[in-house]
Symmetry: C2
Subunit: 343 residues, 2 copies
């Protein structure tokens, strides 16, 4: 590992002069500059970022913490953040939080040790008050889920609006028994999507059947099981609103297995192949790349202008992509509740 001192010795100058050449300081003669530059080339000098950023006090690295890097949504977000960060010569440190909320804090603290210059987080727990400690050290931006017990910039999708739109879409196709499959209401995102679902039912004058509200899943398999439970009800739903792409990946195969593709399905969150399945799945698209882009831009802006004021709360629009999975008419395919319970 060649250092500035090595280059300096080779070029017959002091380390400081090498530093000046490297940073394009105008106070260097053309002659010296050239000698230093050729010495750098000969020795293949590469600056030690660690030394530089250590001196500056903060790193040229942005921390990203999401529930799961392998989830297509977060993978796309991560990629976009990386591209945006690279434009500013910053690298990204990525961490998966997993699905145990109690581990969130310790995972974040491990990440923070690396003296990150900013943090983008999609939290999984219901309490981020532990972040207060870092509040002044580096900017923090939340994505996908709002912070709890903590104040910070956030960029979230319109969960309420999207869920409402999805439910209305099903209603407009004649469905009245609409189930929702989701994770725990501890997650603000899920709570909002549930509220959107309830609001849509309410404004259409439909009563809520709590048997059709299946919360508490935490992966695709759970969601598949929930789906089977729903269809085994005495009065099964004719449509399912999956509040999460991860769950849709479980629900869809479950419907296939049960041979119940007559059941309408709408997914909050697009997923690979959703448009190629039979039937292709109607979704609420969240545009992960846009989320990544705006989050990265905000972090970078906060880093370069710590004093500047920005809008804290940012709701990103979502849009419904209509495909085939809601086209079936419930009147034709669903068994009549009355007959069902008697027979």
């Amino acid at each position: 590992m060649t250092t500035m001192q090595d280059v300096a010795t080779r070029a017959g100058v002091s380390a400081k002069t090498v530093s000046r050449v490297f940073n394009d300081d105008p106070h260097v003669t053309e002659d010296t500059r050239e000698r230093v530059q050729s010495a750098m080339r000969e020795l293949k000098y590469v600056p030690n970022m660690l030394a530089r950023t250590f001196r500056e006090g903060k790193s040229a690295v942005i921390g990203i913490a999401v529930p799961d890097v392998a989830d297509p949504f977060f993978a796309a977000v991560t990629k976009e953040i990386e591209l945006a960060a690279r434009e500013q010569d910053m690298a990204i440190v990525v961490t998966s939080l997993g699905d145990d909320p109690s581990l969130e804090q310790s995972i974040i603290e491990t990440t923070v040790r690396h003296q990150i210059g900013g943090l983008i987080i999609a939290p999984i727990s219901a309490d981020q008050s532990y972040l207060a400690r870092w509040q002044d050290s580096f900017p923090i931006v939340f994505i996908d889920r709002t912070p709890s017990k903590f104040n910070a910039d956030y960029f979230v999708e319109d969960d309420f609006g999207g869920a409402c739109e999805a439910t209305q879409h099903l209603i407009s196709h004649g469905h009245t028994r609409i189930a929702i499959v989701g994770d725990s209401t501890e997650v603000p995102t899920t709570r909002l999507r549930l509220e959107g679902y309830l609001a849509a039912l309410d404004s259409a004058g439909l009563k809520v059947d709590k048997d059709l509200v299946m919360l508490g899943s935490h992966d695709a398999d759970c969601a598949a099981a929930a789906c089977k439970t729903l269809l085994a009800l005495p009065e099964p739903p004719t449509a399912i609103f999956s509040s999460n792409a991860r769950f849709s990946i479980g629900v869809f195969p479950a419907l296939q297995t049960l041979n119940r593709t007559d059941i309408a399905l709408i997914s909050y969150g697009d997923f690979t192949m959703a448009d190629v399945l039979r039937p292709s799945v109607t979704v609420i698209d969240q545009d992960p790349r846009h989320v990544g882009r705006v989050a990265a831009e905000r972090i970078l802006a906060r880093i370069s202008a710590p004093a500047k004021r920005f809008r804290r709360k940012n709701i990103l629009p979502v849009n419904l992509i209509e495909r085939q999975s809601c086209q079936s008419s419930p009147v034709l395919t669903a068994p009549e509740p009355g007959l069902m319970t008697i027979g």
Copy 2:
């Protein structure tokens, strides 16, 4: 940001003693230890990794460079590496190389500036000789693709064997006109898969029709176009071997659009929903999590025991997951070549 010195002052000792307490040095009295620990708690001391690793000379960070973090295969690999690294208190810096081979070197050099402790790379270019410079600085492990013009540990899938098996699978289902869709043969992986395909054809006594070898795609859309070209041939194939999951994601919809689900399809690389599509897609599974795990373990082993010797070349087995997409019989569904050209 509280430093060791702050804690030291508060506890009435020297910074060195704080360092000792922090690192569980036994040469500290119980009394002092307690005073220091409570001072650390009061001031919420968090060690500055940057300072520590700067002194050590290398970072507690592993660099990962893959063609695309958002690709499901690499996303899964990345996640597994992260989990393995975290067990050793290491973080990961992730970079997407994109699809322009000429940018590979500069992207890697940017990553290296961060003084990484090790590098895991799935290269996209045909020349990694530029890595020689870092050879002694930190361990380098290749995944998915073998290094070119450079020596390093690598863990690659059995491209030749897998492609051979895939092709044989198609042959055993009666296919004789089998197309291959892939990217450039610049990529060693692709070259090996092509060779496997050719070897299987050869050992079955089948001639190669170069119209059926469609290389040079670089994304799903290209692959879809290649697929359409193939089916428009005077003597179209009855089966397609997609040498890459990324391309399968383009080929499958193309077949659907053309209403040619009678064409058999086998994909090198499993992908989300492949098992739920109609027909579900037979694949060669590469087990990305296993790749990530072994690569991470090797890097960590190399970091902690630089002198130890390991096996350089590692070929990981792949296995064929049979689904529906190869079940159609070519004799029944494919137009007879002879009739076709005449008619």
